[in-house]
């Protein structure tokens, strides 16, 4: 260590002139995500599943009527992203979301870096906001990446053709492409809700694995409740059901009711989760690490 000439006042630096902001935290959270292996695990899953689906379609005929849009998988590549939205809600998208949202606070708490950043010049709410924004950004990127890869893979497999809606009408390929991307945006409503739940568990647990698995389990429990005899009446109010709201777009005319319903049901889950996570983070003792 340089003990002969210690420079505590670094020459050339006149001191801080501005306070750091939420954007500062957000920028560095994204930077950290770029350097984390688990980020790429989720993104790789986002890419691999549609590619795998396209390959499966190529080698194996999908039976008519197996699920919505199954009939059209061989007729239009634009059916593929919609089919993946149907299946992705079961575990793939919750897992992708949980990998980052569940980890984003818990891992810092567990590794002790939370105490390092909390003694700098940022208020706790700024750090929280930056982390939530980063986790949300990651989820959005993962969904849009998945959708885009599915469009490309589906088009390569089945061509860029017109698509039949759930009402039986046919829309042009370009119109169908717009519908696919708007569907992805509507899908983001329950996805972001799941991000908030993941952040809550991340703030609650000091263990990243517990928070990630917990987020995934909550998603699965919602689905389980929806199929239990006697509880089917709860379906409209379950988070898992809101992953199907985008299907309203694929009707003629567009059925906005499930989409609007999805927004307020998701808010019912997401807002309390986010507020609780915020209060936990603001008030907690940081004694670990």
């Amino acid at each position: 260590m340089s003990t002969g000439a210690v420079a505590t006042r670094v020459p050339g630096v006149t001191g801080r002139t501005r306070r750091p902001s939420v954007f500062t935290v957000y920028r560095w959270e994204i930077f950290k995500l770029v350097h984390l292996r688990r980020t790429y695990l989720g993104l790789a899953l986002s890419v691999a599943v549609p590619v795998g689906f396209a390959v499966a379609i190529h080698f194996r005929h999908v039976h008519h009527g197996d699920f919505a849009f199954a009939t059209f998988l061989n007729r239009s590549g634009l059916a593929l992203p919609l089919v993946i939205l149907l299946f992705g809600a079961v575990w793939m998208f919750p897992l992708i979301v949980a990998l980052v949202a569940g980890d984003i606070i818990a891992s810092e708490d567990h590794n002790g870096t939370l105490k390092t950043v909390l003694t700098r010049s940022l208020e706790r709410w700024q750090i929280f906001a930056g982390k939530v924004l980063a986790a949300t950004t990651y989820a959005i990127v993962a969904i849009l990446l998945n959708g885009s890869v599915a469009v490309v893979a589906g088009t390569l497999q089945s061509g860029f053709h017109s698509l039949q809606t759930l009402s039986g009408t046919t829309v042009s390929a370009s119109h169908a492409l717009v519908l696919v991307y708007v569907s992805l945006l509507i899908y983001l409503v329950p996805i972001v809700t799941l991000v908030f739940i993941g952040v809550l568990l991340s703030a609650l647990f000091h263990n990243s694995a517990a928070a990630v698995v917990g987020t995934l389990m909550i998603s699965l429990v919602f689905q389980l409740i929806g199929v239990l005899p006697g509880l089917t009446g709860t379906q409209p109010y379950l988070l898992s059901t809101q992953f199907n709201a985008w299907q309203g777009l694929l009707r003629t005319p567009i059925d906005w009711a499930p989409i609007v319903h999805s927004v307020w049901v998701c808010a019912m889950y997401g807002v309390p989760a986010l507020v609780t996570a915020f209060l936990l983070f603001i008030r907690r003792d940081v004694a670990g690490g």
Partner: protein, 323 residues
Amino acid sequence: MSGGTASAPPLQVRGLVKRYGHLAAVAGVDLTIESGDVYGYLGPNGAGKTTSLRMMLGLIRPTAGTVRVFGRDPWESVRALDGVAGFVEAPTFYPYLNGRRNLELLAAFDGGGSGEQVERALETVELADRARDKVKGYSHGMRQRLGIAAALLRQPKLLLLDEPTTGLDPGGMRDMRVLVRRLAEEGITIVLSSHLLAEVEEVCNRVGIVQSGKLVYEGEIAALKRSAGASYTVQTTDDERAVQICRAQRGIADVRRQDGRIWFSAEEEQAVATLSQALVEGGALIRSLQPQTARLEDLFFSLTEASEHDEQPVAEPTVGATR
């Protein structure tokens, strides 16, 4: 935010308590760190040092009592920590980022972060040549040095260091002590938590000693040593008889035989002169008579062991038994 004042001491703690259920990790600590102090916060493991430091840095909320950093409450706003830096337990960083990136991140979180500033901090702790390596490959000593570099980025007026030499090799410990002294010479007030008495004795001018969450002493090391009184050893031709004479002598206390010598303390030098005369007259001829300097280690154990039997905090203790 409670506004700080220029005259406020760097750190003032009053009635600080932290309870976890029925366990009081910190049980009513009062401290005042004056500007320019190099303050040793001493105590055995589990005494409450780290918990106290966490409260001073606003990481955990006190159950009772107040912490004021330059007159401001760190729990009201992080701005209270302007001019304050340090680390609790081992400094922690993002292992998947390199040393420079970690410092850049922390500098950005302070609102600054010029490359030159980061570079100088790395050079100060002699990590410039390893700055591109990921922190997960750093040794414990390198992480400690990176922790110091991260603290220096804040251009601190008050530095809180929790056991900064723990885990370092002898060379690293020496360098860290020299660095702490240099920082103090540059006007930084330093609070150094440690259970290594020699370290504190070497670099600190004042100490606070905690035991079981309670402060058992606060003051200057020199005053603490003075309070111990003078201690002596004597060797005679008849030690059994000499012990009886010592115990009977007025002004002589804490007589015991140890390591082939007789140890005792004396309130005044005159009592020692009288004792030497009495020994000769009693037939125990003196082979050697030596004054002993009180060591912080001895005083520390006297205080902490005494506090285990005494619930009352000791503000200015009189330590009689030294060796």
